[in-house]
Symmetry: C2
Subunit: 279 residues, 2 copies
């Protein structure tokens, strides 16, 4: 396992060598503090490719909220241990100042897909995601890149970006991995208290499951069901609903709610949690 902290000549030569030998390169971008959601993507990447590159980079450009950025959890030593266990070939840990050589004037927007959900409530977030990924794609030139379905809108945005800009990269996706309680795995879960994580946070998923069941039974009552679910979430102990909406898997409005997907973002204290499930 080789660790690079910058896009050095040595790193470029290594990548060139891999490409010359026609090695199939998989890339799993992360912001570190790895959990089993990341690991499941890495396992998949490991199975399907010759070479696996994992990046760990807390991308400040995708944070619209400074305190969220400052409080993002970090544990590089633990991450490296996990990546070694998964036999990852290359770890890329870029330094902020070298990675973003200011001034950066290029701004990427993915219209339509980002005018709702996290795109709406986290202005600039997906521009930051697009910027970091285009840079990483251009540096690493992977054949495929792996993303989890927890960030479902992100996955759609990335697929569109890669299609629109003709990046020669296959986008692969992994299902949401959940804790035993049903809570979707997320690095941000570590910022919850033990009690919040065990008792309140899992109720997000419980409520979504219940909401999906109610819609399947009674699709014409969807407005009322959304309203009730929001009330139940607040009663469960969440401090704020960021959004609770239904779209189809292309993020269009649903013709038929039975084919829809529920998207939720809620705050528990200062921690923002997201989840989504198919109806």
């Amino acid at each position: 396992m080789k660790v690079f902290t910058q896009y050095s000549t040595e790193f470029k030569l290594k990548l060139k060598d891999l490409s010359k030998n026609e090695q199939n390169i998989a890339f799993v971008p992360t912001m570190g503090f790895l959990h089993d959601g990341h690991i499941s993507l890495i396992k998949k990447a490991r199975q399907e490719n010759d070479v696996v590159i994992v990046s760990i980079f807390i991308n400040k450009k995708q944070f619209n909220n400074k305190s969220d950025y400052n409080n993002y959890p970090v544990n590089i030593a633990q991450d490296l241990q996990k990546l070694k266990e998964q036999q990852v070939d290359i770890i890329y840990l870029p330094e902020d100042k070298l990675f973003y050589q200011e001034p950066i004037y290029t701004n990427i927007n993915i219209n339509y897909l980002t005018d709702k959900l996290c795109g709406k409530t986290r202005p600039g977030h997906f521009s930051g995601v697009a910027l970091v990924l285009i840079k990483l794609f251009n540096q690493l030139k992977p054949n495929s890149a792996y993303f989890g379905q927890k960030d479902f809108q992100q996955l759609m945005v990335i697929k569109q970006l890669v299609k629109d800009l003709d990046f020669p990269i296959l986008i692969k996706e992994g299902e949401i991995i959940r804790e035993n309680t049903g809570l979707a795995m997320s690095s941000r879960n570590s910022r919850l208290t033990e009690l919040e994580r065990a008792i309140i946070a899992p109720k997000l998923y419980d409520n979504l499951v219940e909401m999906a069941k109610n819609i399947r039974t009674n699709p014409i009552e969807v407005v009322k069901i959304i309203k009730n679910t929001k009330e139940n979430l607040i009663k469960s102990g969440f401090s704020k609903i960021d959004y609770l909406e239904i779209y189809d898997d292309n993020l269009n409005n649903c013709d038929n709610y039975l084919n829809g997907r529920i998207f939720a973002a809620v705050f528990l204290g200062k921690v923002r949690l997201i989840d989504n499930i198919k109806i």
Copy 2:
């Protein structure tokens, strides 16, 4: 000389083969109706590389004016003849519908550098340039790409884009090539009448040369000199001044006009002409 009209499997295999053999690939993007400005870039590309790819594609996304797009001159047969003479290896003539698979939601802005000159008077123009180039860069994966200094702002925008997004492509530039009269070569010159092209259009360059001389002599009178030059251009027969401004070579405001560059865009009838010269 091989001509591809789409990004076919055959084309991809050809490109892969070149890259496997470590051929140095130069790319000269054009909108066709080739003149000696293009040819000088192609000659340079030919000298400096193993393989030269020229694209001919009238990129509708960079036209903010529909009639300018509809009247853009075309002569593919003549272009192919010229490219053959220059021993170009690959011509890429993409078809609009296959190249732009709608819907395209990705929009690229290069801030600051585009808030002036053509970026200001042709809204959306540089977003269209950025989109087509990123797509072409991703498809063709050249080692270098060649652009002329006539579109000086475009050159700056492209350099910034490639830097910001880490495209592994060297941007090379060619000097402005002029007709005997001094008129900067441009495909759009063909839309002028014989008289306009011979008598009026060259006065743009004459006026810029005179203006530069006056500023060198009398830099504190720059505001007055710009005003006079605008009046002289209108007297010379130009129908409208789109802009006449001075910036340094990084498109910043000039600390010292003696290090500046004059940028001009004028209309002659319905044809828009641009030029720039170092003071």
